[in-house]
Every structure is written in structure tokens, then in C-alpha cells.
């Protein structure tokens, strides 16, 4: 079974050249494998500057890595033939945050929905095409009669986002890479759309990489979560423990900052960085040290590697340096495989390899 899509030790650096000070490392030494079976939902969570959008663009072949490679069915995207590229385009679909740019302003909305059906030969007749489009639009809460026949600028940002989700529902690719697909959609509808994406995984075997800043929805729909901070993995693994008992100080800060819809669970106060953390210069040691309440001497020297703190979790933090190391290219070995009897609560050593058999 060939891996469907893989990021292998990918680093992306913007700018730079002769002037090293201008270099921005958007993503550093990132690896991830998406297997064709079983279908999975992986969430990539980060704030602005975390590298999550760079990662989406890399995985979609919209930009090439500075080091490392993106592989589609084992082949480097840079070496795909035209035919393989076309298959990649069909298998891996994108949903973007503000999809305005992907629309051709001169075509009606219908065009963006009809084209993939025709191009990939997914329907037999025009009537079937029309019917499937109407169903897909309804599934994302759009009124077909108010959407079809309109031009992109006549729809709101949230409506355009939903058209892109509808398109993904129509094409039924093998993998959807969704970068903030519901950020402009109201809460009551957001749940509906995320649920339709989840149903796509459950009923049609489509895998999903859900890229977002919203840890709550990430937790709700994903099997595994990767928390990115300034281009590096801070913490990753089974969604349950990562969210319920976060380990990395950054994940803890992120979760503590979420305004919970419960007036009795008040926001906590943010902890100040430690004395040592205040001295940190983010360019050498741990990228989080200058904000970290637990920063120690060693945090200023080198960025921490991944420690496998539990069967289904890794944390890039020296607080967990007693745990065994996990090479970054094997990140997904700390992931639960959906469908296989998953762990109720994954604690270190409590689950053996047999529960994770891919």
C-alpha cells in the first residue's frame, strides 16, 4: 500500500539569499504521512505565523520546499508527469480560507461546480450533474436558487467558502486539505459543515487534513492533532490527550486562552515567562522559550527534539526529556489509526503496538 501523500523532512524558508537576517523559516523539518486506508482526519492547529498555511501550500504543490520533499504516491511532486499531476489534482482537493481568488470572476458560481464533474467524468448526464450540485449546496446550507446563476462577488465570504466545501463534496477526492474552511461561517452553520466533512470521511473514505487556529473544532472532528508553533511541531498525537491534558507549555497556553462558552469556567491569567525565558533569543534555542513560564538553561541552547511521552503523543519540550526520542520523520508513529480499536486513554506504556496496527 503506497502512502497517499507524504511530507518528508520538509523545510520552507522565505527570503534570505545573501542576507541571512531576512530569512524566515516558515516550516522546519516537518514530516507527515497520510495513508490511503483507513481514512483519517488530521488537524493541524496553529496561530498566525505557525507555518500552517505554508504547510497547506506545500502539500498542495503550490510551492516547493527549500529542503525535503512532498511525495504523492511515493513520487516527489517535482518529478510528476503531466498525467500523474492530473491524478494528484483529482485525488487531493483544497478548500481555502478566503476562496475568492480561486474563482474566475467572469464565470458564474455554477462553473466552479460543473467543471470538476465534467472534467473528471463523474456524472453521466446533465440532469444528474444538476441534481448532485443542488444536493451538495443544500448539504452546506446554501439555497441553490439563491446561489446558482450568481457571480462570485455577489456572494459573501462565508457563502463562497461553503461553495468550495460543496465542490469538495461533489468531487469526492481521496484527500481534502482544508485551510480554515469555516472561518467565515457562523457558529450554528459551522457545526453543520464540519459534520458534512466528517461524514465524507466516514461514508466515502475521504481523508481530511484540517488546518485551523480553532482548537475546539479541531478536537471535535480529528483523530490526531498536530500543534505547530513558529514552524515547528510543539505537540502532536491523539486528539483526546493533547486537548484534555496538554503537555507542551504552548499547548497549555493555547487551550487556556480559548474563551469557553461557560461563564463558570473563567479564563485563567496568563503566566509570565520564567527569569531564564526572558533572556531567550528565539533564533537559537526553543522557539517558545521567550514566552515559557518553565524555560530552563537548556531551552536557550537548542530547540528541543520530539519526545514520545505516551504511546500516542509526542511533545517537543525538555520538561519531558526523560521520555524516549522520536525521530521527526516518524511523527505519525505516534498517531492513532482510526477504525482500529483506539485507546480509551493513551498513557505511556499502557497501550502496545498491536492497538496501532496500520
Amino acid at each position: 500500500m503506497t502512502t497517499l501523500l507524504e511530507a518528508r523532512k520538509v523545510t520552507k524558508v522565505y527570503g534570505g539569499g545573501l542576507f541571512r537576517r531576512d530569512r524566515t523559516v516558515a516550516l522546519e523539518d516537518f514530516s507527515l504521512r497520510i495513508e490511503p486506508e483507513p481514512p483519517s482526519i488530521t488537524a493541524i492547529v496553529g496561530e498566525s505565523g505557525s507555518g500552517k498555511t505554508t504547510l497547506a501550500r506545500l502539500l498542495l504543490g503550490m510551492t516547493m520546499p527549500t529542503a525535503g520533499a512532498i511525495l504523492y504516491q511515493g513520487k516527489d511532486l517535482r518529478t510528476l508527469s503531466r498525467r500523474e499531476w492530473r491524478a494528484f489534482r483529482r485525488d487531493v482537493q483544497a478548500i481555502f480560507q478566503d476562496p475568492y481568488e480561486v474563482y474566475n470572476p467572469f464565470y458564474r458560481i455554477d462553473h466552479v461546480l460543473h467543471t470538476p464533474l465534467k472534467k473528471f467524468g463523474l456524472v453521466k448526464s446533465e440532469r444528474e450533474a444538476q441534481q448532485r450540485i443542488v444536493e451538495a449546496l443544500q448539504a452546506v446550507g446554501l439555497r441553490p436558487e439563491e446561489t446558482l446563476g450568481r457571480y462570485p462577488h455577489q456572494l459573501s465570504g462565508g457563502q463562497r467558502q461553503r461553495v468550495m466545501v460543496a465542490r469538495a463534496l461533489l468531487v469526492r477526492p481521496r484527500l481534502i486539505i482544508a485551510d480554515e474552511p469555516v472561518s467565515m461561517v457562523d457558529a450554528s452553520l459551522r457545526a453543520t459543515i464540519l459534520d458534512s466533512l466528517r461524514a465524507l470521511t466516514r461514508d466515502f473514505g475521504v481523508s481530511l487534513i484540517y488546518i485551523t487556529h480553532d482548537l475546539i473544532t479541531a478536537y471535535q472532528i480529528s483523530d490526531n492533532i498536530i500543534v505547530l508553533y513558529r514552524g515547528s511541531v510543539a505537540e502532536a498525537g491523539h486528539a483526546e490527550p493533547v486537548v484534555q491534558e496538554p503537555q507542551h507549555p504552548y499547548t497549555r497556553l493555547l487551550i487556556g486562552s480559548i474563551p469557553l462558552p461557560d461563564p463558570d469556567r473563567a479564563w485563567s491569567e496568563e503566566q509570565e515567562p520564567s527569569e531564564i525565558g526572558r533572556l531567550a533569543d528565539a533564533s537559537t534555542g526553543c522557539t517558545f522559550a521567550n514566552r515559557c513560564p518553565y524555560a530552563m538553561e537548556m531551552c536557550l541552547e537548542r530547540h528541543p527534539p520530539l519526545y514520545q511521552t505516551e504511546r500516542y503523543r509526542v511533545t517537543a519540550c525538555y520538561l519531558y526529556r526523560e521520555s524516549p526520542l522520536l525521530a521527526s520523520e516518524h511523527l505519525d508513529e505516534a498517531f492513532v489509526r482510526p477504525g482500529v480499536a483506539g485507546p480509551a486513554v493513551a498513557t505511556s506504556g499502557a497501550a502496545d503496538d498491536s492497538t496501532a496496527g496500520a
Binding site: R143, L189, A191, D195, L215, I216, S257, P259, D262
Partner: protein
């Protein structure tokens, strides 16, 4: 002059748990109506909204896009532009109807008594002016004589108050991060000690960590200033964390107003109930329950209750009679026929 200048170190005592209770009403909005005249007909964006704001309280207006919440903010500052028009209603700020003020009177009132912090406020900073000059500009604009030495001191205090270093005074907006810009905007908004601060999605463009910092800063300042805040937004979580009382909007109307704890514990209006049930939580996994159906088109709203086409408890009279926002429980207003029926039976 003296009562508008900032006096640091004069912090007010921590307010009681329910600061609004018993406090006088600082702003009373009555039957506000705003329409936008589009080629396809008038859109009734705000359709008879009433609420009161007490001194020092944080009042939330929550609603989804198109519910009219931002239009309310703009109306209160007379910033509605054609094709929009305020069609009726009153907004009494300390007994004076601010909707009937002349443009010049309103200009003087803004900032001095009622200030607005908006979603894109970070972008409302002038990119070619230093922060200090923008603050001084705002003061001059309101006829405050600004003496240089004194201004420097006041600006330093002001910036410290919102959590910015004094150096920021000499910086240009592009030198600041998003969170710092929003702090600078708050500094300008509070620089004349307004009685009412309207914050319309003040943190929607910011990351959650920065959002918490900004909202906690805003809350601290609000308390120290004794100002009332109207927080407008769509994020129920933010409302739960920030406001004392919450108004829920749907299709241009306020459908429920209650103390925030009551709303989350025991929502009365069916829309509020479904809205709260649709919130993804960190406690339970696998529950993603949206509200079926769509909000009505404001060009041709349904007769009766605007929520009736989506309401699981719809009755015959909901299709014909518009429910009024009335007191149905102590401190709780709701616009729903269900509760009238309950009372009749009781």
C-alpha cells in the same frame, strides 16, 4: 477639562460581582429601526430593538452575520451611511437623544462620551502618523488644549494603562503587531474617558492568546474607568467570559436579554437554546449539531416570529403574531410565545 483628563493611580475599587445591579441607566435604546434601501427593496437590518445599559456594566449583543448587531453599533454613533437610514427610535445617553443630534454635536460626543472600537480598528490608524500624534489629534479635535509637556505625560500614562511601552508613542502603526495596534486603538478610544465604549468584534482578527490579553486589558480598563461596554460579536465563548448581561439577536431583533449565567444555564428562547447546543465544546467529543435551516431573508421576512420557520416548538400563533420582548422571569426578557402560554397555564 479636569474630568476628561486621565488621572492615573486613581483606580476604582473592584466592583461587586454584579456591578450593573441597581446602577443607573446610562444608555437606553428604544425601538431602534434601521433599513438599507437596496435595488431589490428595503432591508430591515434593525427592526425595533430596545435595550438598556447601566453604568459600569458589560453588555453583550450576540448574533450571527446579518442579525443587525453591527448596524446597531453604527447607528449609536450616527455612522450609518446611505443607502442605510435610521428610520425611528431613540437612544438616550444620560437623558439626551443622541439619534437626533446634529452632525457637529455628534462629532463632539464621539470619543468624549461614547467611543467605538471596531473589528478593523487596527486598520483605522493612520499609517503615516506616529501613535502619539494620533492621540493628540483626537484631543485637539475635541477642543482640548494640549500643552506639549503635559501631553507627553498623559500619553505615557495612557499607553501604560493599555499595556504598551512608552516607546510606542513614537512608533508608526506598521511597527506594531496586530495586538499592539488594537491596544493603541483602545488607548485612543478611552483617552477622553467615555461613559460608553462600544466594542464591535474587537478581537476577531487576532489569535486566541492575544485575544485573551486584549479582552482582559479591556475589562480592567472598563472597571477602572467605570465605563459601560457594549461588546458586539458572534462568539458565545467571548460573551461568556466578558459580559454581565447578554442580548441575543436574530434577524434584526433582540429575542432574549438575560444575565449571562442564566442564558448559558437555562436559555429561554428556542434560538438561544439551539445556538448554545451548536457550540462545539472541549468537554464532549463528537457533537456537532448545527441549527437546521437558514436565517430569513431580511428583504421579505416571514410574518409572525422571525424564527418560526426553524423553530422546533412552532405554534399557530407564531406564524401570525410577532412576539414582544417582555419580562418573563426575574431579570429576564424573552420574545417568544411559548412563555406566554406557560404563564396562562400557571
Amino acid at each position: 477639562m479636569s474630568d476628561t483628563s486621565l488621572r492615573m493611580g486613581q483606580t476604582r475599587p473592584e466592583p461587586a460581582a454584579r456591578p450593573w445591579e441597581g446602577a443607573e441607566i446610562v444608555l437606553g435604546v428604544r425601538d431602534l429601526r434601521v433599513s438599507y434601501y437596496t435595488p431589490r427593496g428595503p432591508v430591515r437590518a434593525v427592526n425595533g430593538v430596545s435595550f438598556t445599559l447601566r453604568r459600569g456594566e458589560a453588555f453583550g449583543l450576540v448574533g450571527e452575520s446579518g442579525s443587525g448587531k453591527s448596524t446597531i453599533a453604527l447607528s449609536l454613533l450616527q455612522l450609518i451611511k446611505p443607502p442605510g437610514r435610521i428610520e425611528g427610535g431613540q437612544a438616550l445617553l444620560d437623558g439626551k437623544d443622541i439619534l437626533s443630534l446634529s452632525e457637529e454635536e455628534m462629532r463632539r460626543l464621539r470619543l468624549a462620551e461614547i467611543a467605538l472600537i471596531t473589528q478593523g480598528a487596527m486598520n483605522s490608524l493612520n499609517p503615516v502618523m506616529r501613535i502619539r500624534d494620533q492621540i493628540i489629534d483626537a484631543w485637539r479635535d475635541h477642543g482640548e488644549p494640549v500643552n506639549c509637556r503635559e501631553a507627553e505625560d498623559r500619553i505615557r500614562d495612557l499607553l501604560r494603562w493599555v499595556g504598551l511601552r512608552p516607546e510606542v508613542a513614537r512608533m508608526y502603526p506598521h511597527e506594531l503587531s496586530g495586538g499592539m495596534k488594537q491596544r493603541a486603538v483602545i488607548a485612543i478610544a478611552i483617552s477622553m474617558r467615555p461613559k460608553v465604549i462600544i466594542a464591535d468584534e474587537p478581537t476577531s482578527a487576532l489569535d486566541v492568546v492575544v485575544q485573551r490579553q486584549i479582552m482582559q486589558t479591556l475589562r480592567r480598563i472598563q472597571r477602572e474607568l467605570g465605563a459601560a461596554v457594549i461588546l458586539i460579536g458572534h462568539d458565545m465563548g467571548l460573551m461568556a467570559q466578558f459580559v454581565d448581561r447578554l442580548g441575543v439577536m436574530y434577524a434584526g431583533k433582540v429575542v432574549e436579554v438575560s444575565p449571562v449565567r442564566d442564558i448559558f444555564k437555562d436559555p429561554l428562547h428556542p434560538y438561544t437554546q439551539l445556538l448554545i447546543a451548536s457550540l462545539p465544546s472541549l468537554a464532549r467529543k463528537g457533537q456537532l449539531q448545527g441549527i437546521p435551516g437558514l436565517p430569513p431573508s431580511l428583504l421579505s421576512p416571514p410574518p409572525g416570529c422571525p424564527f418560526h420557520p426553524r423553530c422546533p416548538f412552532v405554534m399557530d400563533r407564531c406564524r401570525v403574531a410577532v412576539p414582544l420582548l417582555e419580562l418573563k422571569r426575574p431579570n429576564r426578557l424573552v420574545a417568544c410565545h411559548l412563555y406566554e402560554r406557560d404563564e396562562e397555564q400557571a
